[in-house]
């Protein structure tokens, strides 16, 4: 079947689908990714959509993209630059050309490159004809025309036909990547169950695209990406925000505490609430609150009443929640606060990712106000991070801030499906009815944790609140010595969490020339860069942190074994300064980027090399 084409065996490929928002690029990318998963590839995906729901037609602002990185080995990032770009209009070509590798394949809908459209995109003349794309494998396909021809027998309107152009591009890509059409046709069948015409139209266009790609001349390549060597087991793909929601559900089931979410919609965190709202059958209660403050305050009320209480937000929302977080610290109630970070300050760049809320998570409250801060490192890790955040919150009676970010929250990845019964046990310290010794602030001597006494339980009536309390008894107190004691106890209680979390691991040897330190959503890019250099024999290792407050107990010992330490993060140096404050005995180098973009593997490799060379 593919006799006329040259088959290129590749270890990994990065593909980007780009078009006007409304061109269906998210769906196209998702279906292409599904086909890769079914063929056994590992992958990572990232949707890159504009903040506007429908920006003006054919403008750069309106470009919507979907990037997918597939491979026959572990795929940890969505890829620095792409091997194949599908551009449905001039603006999407213009917006993405800087991320296309030299010699890469570019497929365009040539029909969309009319003068008006390329002028709006900012081109002086048609980029398809002016030689500017000569260094690429350019495929000028008349996608619009061929789409219209494919559906001509159905007598559908031009507007309707245009909506299926994305299927033409997908059909081409499925041919070029040697994938079967059937799973996509089955999907279309399900999607358009009630609209036979749309099903037919999409199917015909998909097949037309596939057939068209088959007619392209011999020099065109067919890409082969062999199945990845993945650990045995059951898998699915999962988006970070979905994984976060599911991790919370698992923690609720495992702890026996019903899940309550009080939240207010905010990009890029909203999907967690949307996901949880679907699962009433698992007993979840979701309150879409009137604002961010009501979101967290309702969660605090639900926590007092015995729920696994959660609020989800992004940076601006976390700012609004600050006072209430202090209340949860003071009342020593379990609460999970999830911040899916975005570029700030203020409204910033809502759809772009950053790690710049760390200071806010650590320090953004009045008074001495310690709590646990954690970070999720990948879309799949969001499941485990959310589970552990809930476990720590309940077992240690404390608010936990879990930092995710827009990049991993919206990105997706393969996820090995765990069994809930095999996840770590969660044992909330519930007070027993009529316990004669119950006192609101009586603490477990080992953990300093107070008990959770639920309203409705006989014999445990008590009052808590934002005013300082007498330790043990829980009465309102302004006693100076007691305040000092309570401040110290609240801090020590958080430090004690370090006795219950995993030690920090290192990727690579126990010692070496350079220790790369990172946290949160940069895990994929940094791991890729470090392993690439390790493969070349460099004495470079990685300590990627999931626990930030408190730090794992072995952190200091681990740092001592390296000649140099470099801390990489997508902010101006928040974790590195926290380390300078917490573990001041080391000289820390830093690599920072604050552009709303993830690290590229290539830029990290370059910077690590400099640090390795200039010892």
């Amino acid at each position: 079947m593919h006799k006329r084409s040259k088959i290129l065996e590749l270890d990994e490929v990065v593909v980007k689908f780009a078009g006007d928002s409304g061109d269906g690029m998210q769906l196209t990318g998702t279906l292409f990714s599904d086909a890769a998963v079914k063929a056994g590839n590992d992958l990572a995906t990232f949707p890159d959509f504009p903040a506007e729901i429908r920006a003006p037609h054919n403008t750069i602002a309106g470009v919507s993209g979907f990037q997918v990185h597939i491979g026959k080995h572990r795929i940890l990032t969505t890829g620095d630059s792409c091997d194949v770009l599908v551009a449905m209009n001039p603006a999407s070509l213009k917006a993405n050309i800087q991320w296309v590798k030299p010699g890469a394949m570019i497929i365009v809908d040539a029909d969309a490159f009319e003068e008006k459209a390329f002028t709006i995109a900012g081109y002086k003349d048609n980029p398809l004809d002016n030689g500017s794309l000569d260094s690429f494998q350019l495929i000028k396909a008349s996608i619009s025309t061929m789409t219209a021809e494919a559906v001509s027998e159905l007598n559908v309107e031009r507007k309707v036909a245009d909506k299926t152009r994305n299927m033409f591009a997908l059909g081409m890509m499925l041919f070029i990547f040697n994938r079967p059409l059937e799973p996509t046709i089955e999907y279309l069948h399900r999607k358009f169950e009630k609209n036979a015409t749309m099903y037919e139209a999409n199917k015909l266009v998909l097949q037309a695209g596939y057939g068209y790609a088959d007619t392209l001349e011999v020099s065109r390549s067919i890409y082969m990406v062999s199945p990845a060597n993945i650990e045995k087991g059951k898998y699915r793909t999962i988006m970070g925000n979905t994984a976060t929601a599911w991790g919370l559900l698992a923690a609720s089931e495992r702890s026996g505490r019903p899940l309550f979410l009080g939240s207010y919609p905010i990009t890029p965190a909203t999907e967690i609430m949307v996901e949880l709202a679907k699962h009433k059958s698992l007993g979840v209660k979701v309150l879409q609150a009137e604002d961010e403050i009501a979101g967290i305050c309702s969660a605090i009320g639900a926590s007092f009443a015995g729920s696994l209480a959660v609020t989800t937000t992004s940076g601006p929302g976390l700012s609004l929640k600050s006072e209430a977080i202090g209340l949860a610290v003071m009342t020593e109630l379990p609460l999970v606060i999830i911040d899916v970070q975005r570029a700030g300050p203020s409204t910033g760049m809502p759809t772009k990712s950053e790690q710049s809320d760390l200071y806010q998570a650590l320090f953004g409250r009045n008074g001495e106000c310690p709590l646990v801060v954690m970070a999720a490192s990948s879309p799949a890790d969001c499941f485990y991070a959310a589970y552990e955040a809930a476990k720590i919150a309940m077992e240690h009676m404390t608010p936990v801030i879990l930092l995710s970010d827009g990049y991993i929250g919206n990105g997706s990845q393969l996820f090995k499906i765990p069994k809930v019964a095999e996840l770590a046990e969660i044992r909330p310290p519930l007070a027993k009815a009529n316990d004669p010794n119950y006192k609101p602030y009586l603490r477990d001597p080992e953990t300093l944790v107070r008990q959770w006494a639920l309203p409705g339980t006989e014999g445990l009536r008590h009052r808590v609140g934002g005013l300082e309390k007498q330790n043990v008894e829980g009465n309102v107190s302004t006693n100076p010595a007691n305040h000092q004691n309570m401040v110290d106890l609240r801090a020590a209680k958080i430090q004690k969490v370090a006795d219950f979390i995993d030690e920090q691991t290192v990727l690579g040897e126990k010692d070496g020339d350079l220790l790369v330190v990172s946290w949160g959503g940069t895990h994929g890019a940094i791991t890729s860069a470090v392993t690439a250099l390790q493969g070349k024999g460099a004495k470079i290792c990685l300590a990627h942190f999931k626990h930030i407050m408190p730090l794992p107990k072995n952190t200091e010992d681990l740092f001592k074994a390296f000649k140099r330490i470099v801390v990489c993060e997508l902010n101006s140096g928040q974790f590195v300064n926290y380390l300078r404050m917490t573990l001041p005995g080391f000289k820390y180098h830093q690599i920072n980027k604050v552009q709303g973009l993830p690290f590229m593997v290539s830029e990290l490799v370059e910077k690590f090399n400099l640090l390795l060379e200039n010892q």
Partner: protein
């Protein structure tokens, strides 16, 4: 328009033995000023809780910040002293998490109408089944005397030395404008009416707002003297009783009648006005038109309306949440999280 009426399925468990006031006294020192109207409110709550008859451990009091919000510490129930303005949001979480609790909010005019205005209107709009005691003293007491959103226009305070230039809120208007289902108004000087109204609030399914005209003896003393003083109160207070004509005056000689689209004060027998012309109070009426007019009445043209102004039956938010969870559990695809994890496109790697 039709709306579902849910019968409250989550009635609070009743105490098996009779309770009394002492069962609800916390023993904590009460720190309000001597002569403060809040003492009377505390006394009423301690009296009405045993009468309501739920188990002691099923009462929960939530508050915000302000003089009023010290309240939870003084009552021996589960209690939560929140942060400024947020009691309504905290109480919403409590009630949704455990609908078997009888939840009470203690809040003030600053707490609920200024910093917490948003939570106040949305609590009412959702009709969460909680009872809200609005200590309205028309002043900021705990911060020592600044004007509040209910201070009458022109009030001279520390932050308005030339008098306020803001239109005050009428809490009843705000409640009804927020789709409120229960609104009552009482004066702190009338303990009997206060406990009766609290009892009715507890019986009402939905957000019950009781505005208490509470005298701040230090910073706004006698703010309500114009309606509560002995020599004026008969003519300036209309005590509403469901099913009874709206009569007031020393000998109940005055009444309220509807004249066109407006309320009107009339004297029985004068100008040939018969008793039959007087409006009969229907607190259960779904349409809030008359209730709104009653809530807005104020001297000098009208008496102020006290008692239960509105008590209309609508589905509560918490009942509907429980109902959706019940339906979800009965019809949902997933019995547990393992089902969910293994749903959709799942594949084996061998």
């Amino acid at each position: 328009m039709t709306h579902h009426h849910f019968i409250a399925n989550f009635t609070v468990a009743r105490s098996e033995e009779p309770l009394n006031k002492e069962d609800f006294m916390s023993g904590e020192m009460v720190r309000w000023c001597p002569g403060c109207g809040s003492h009377a409110i505390l006394n009423s709550v301690e009296q009405v809780f045993p009468r309501i008859g739920y188990k002691k451990e099923n009462f929960m009091i939530v508050s915000g910040i302000g003089c009023s919000s010290r309240f939870p510490y003084y009552v021996n129930t589960y209690g939560f002293h929140g942060i400024h303005g947020r009691a309504s949001a905290i109480a919403t979480g409590v009630k949704l998490a455990n609908p078997h609790l009888s939840v009470w909010i203690a809040t003030g005019d600053g707490d609920s109408m200024a910093i917490g205005g948003n939570h106040f209107i949305h609590l009412i709009r959702r009709n969460v089944d909680v009872n809200l005691l609005l200590f309205n003293n028309q002043i900021y007491g705990l911060t020592k005397g600044q004007y509040s959103p209910t201070s009458p226009m022109g009030t001279v305070t520390k932050t308005s030395p030339q008098g306020t230039i803001e239109h005050p809120f009428n809490p009843g208007e705000l409640v009804i404008g927020s789709q409120g289902t229960f609104f009552a108004r009482v004066a702190d000087s009338n303990q009997k009416m206060m406990t009766d109204v609290m009892f009715e609030a507890a019986r009402h399914d939905g957000t019950s707002v009781i505005e208490i005209l509470q005298n701040c003896i230090i910073f706004a003393d006698k703010s309500f003297a114009g309606v509560t003083d002995k020599d004026v109160r008969d003519n300036r207070q209309l005590h509403l009783v469901h099913g009874q004509p709206m009569l007031f005056g020393k000998n109940k000689e005055n009444g309220i009648r509807l004249n066109g689209t407006r309320l009107e004060v009339v004297t029985i027998g004068q100008n040939g006005v018969p008793l039959e012309d007087i409006l009969v109070h229907d607190q259960y009426r779904a349409d809030p038109g008359i209730h709104l007019m009653l809530a807005k009445m104020a001297p000098p043209l009208y008496p102020i309306a006290l008692g239960v102004i509105r008590s209309a039956s609508f589905s509560t938010y918490d009942d509907q949440v429980e109902e959706q969870v019940r339906i979800g559990k009965a019809t949902g695809k997933y019995r547990n999280v393992d089902d969910l994890l293994n749903s959709g496109d799942v594949f084996d790697v061998k």
